[in-house]
Amino acid sequence: MTALLLAAVGLGAGTLGALMGIGGGIIVVPILTAGFGLPFRHAVAVSLVVIIASSSSAAASYVDRKLSDMRVGVVLELATVAGAMLGSAVAGLAPVGLLKALFAAVAVYSALVMWRRRPAGPQAPEGAPYTVRRWGTGLGASAVAGAISGLIGVGGGFIKVPVMTLAMELPFKVAVATSNFMIGVTAAASAYVYYARGDLEVAVAAPVVVGVFAGARLGATLLGRIPAARLQAAFSALLVLLGGRMVWDVLRGLP
């Protein structure tokens, strides 16, 4: 019964994530801690496994359509993986309250970005040539994104995509596809560390993976039929609530 409930939670998180264009981690972690009483680090470990599954399938499509810049991806992965290993190692030592506060900050930041999101302006045509600039900035931002991913179990696309578009001057679609290409490897580097520490509960991870995977497909199907823009405000509010709940947990001293 619990397995089916976890799969249903994953289905909801995957659907919402696909509709809102964000990863499932930001939804999965607070639900597992608040709804199922999972310790924070265990919820982060489950989230990382979910991220491997969802980003790998998205990356497979993007790579097949030649949208990902694999050359940029493999270079930036050097930094994301180093950051992820460091972040996940620090997560084992850092006070849970600090990790939850960081998670709450990322949730509120994501809510603000979603709230202020505007329709994309004119885009460069697909396949148009571009020159990659500011590799140093990209590598630095990727290391930070990897570290945050390892600390709190989110994908880190909210850092990488803006840096790749604004600093490295990649077209938006290429940046999104390349970020997805990297996220699975980054999450795996962190997940191994959590697994080694005994933080990963496979009995929880398996149903949530299935639910999020199915939900991501459902969300992609619904995307054209549901006025997703109207859901953005409600979802932004939900993220703020989830972040607030984390802060509340910190104040009550929950694990």
């Binding site: 790998s56 097949d64 050359r71 493999v74 191994y192 496979v202 398996a206």
Partner: protein, 89 residues
């Protein structure tokens, strides 16, 4: 190379998700093999990123782009070291 990388990603992901799906059903039906299936599913997902890195590294070396092949190989070695460390715990 794109096709090979894409196939590697699909193969690992679908195997992992399929095993996780079987595990979920087994948990729901209280079948004893559930935890083994869940562990296998997670391991299949764990293997997917290194598999993708290996295929990409091979692809880059095959077309003579050694720097990118080397970058992929370095990340692959780091992941394998972490995976071996995790497996030995």
């Amino acid at each position: 190379m794109n096709r090979s990388v894409s196939l590697a990603l699909w193969a690992g992901t679908l195997t992992g998700v399929g095993l996780c799906g079987a595990a979920t059903l087994a948990y729901a039906l209280d079948v004893e093999a559930a935890s083994h299936l869940a562990r296998l599913g997670v391991i299949a997902l764990f293997v997917t990123p290194p598999l993708r890195l290996a295929v990409a590294a091979g692809g880059f070396f095959a077309v003579g782009e050694r720097r990118f092949g080397a970058a992929s190989s370095v990340v692959l070695l780091a992941l394998l070291a972490a995976a071996v460390h995790a497996a030995l715990r």
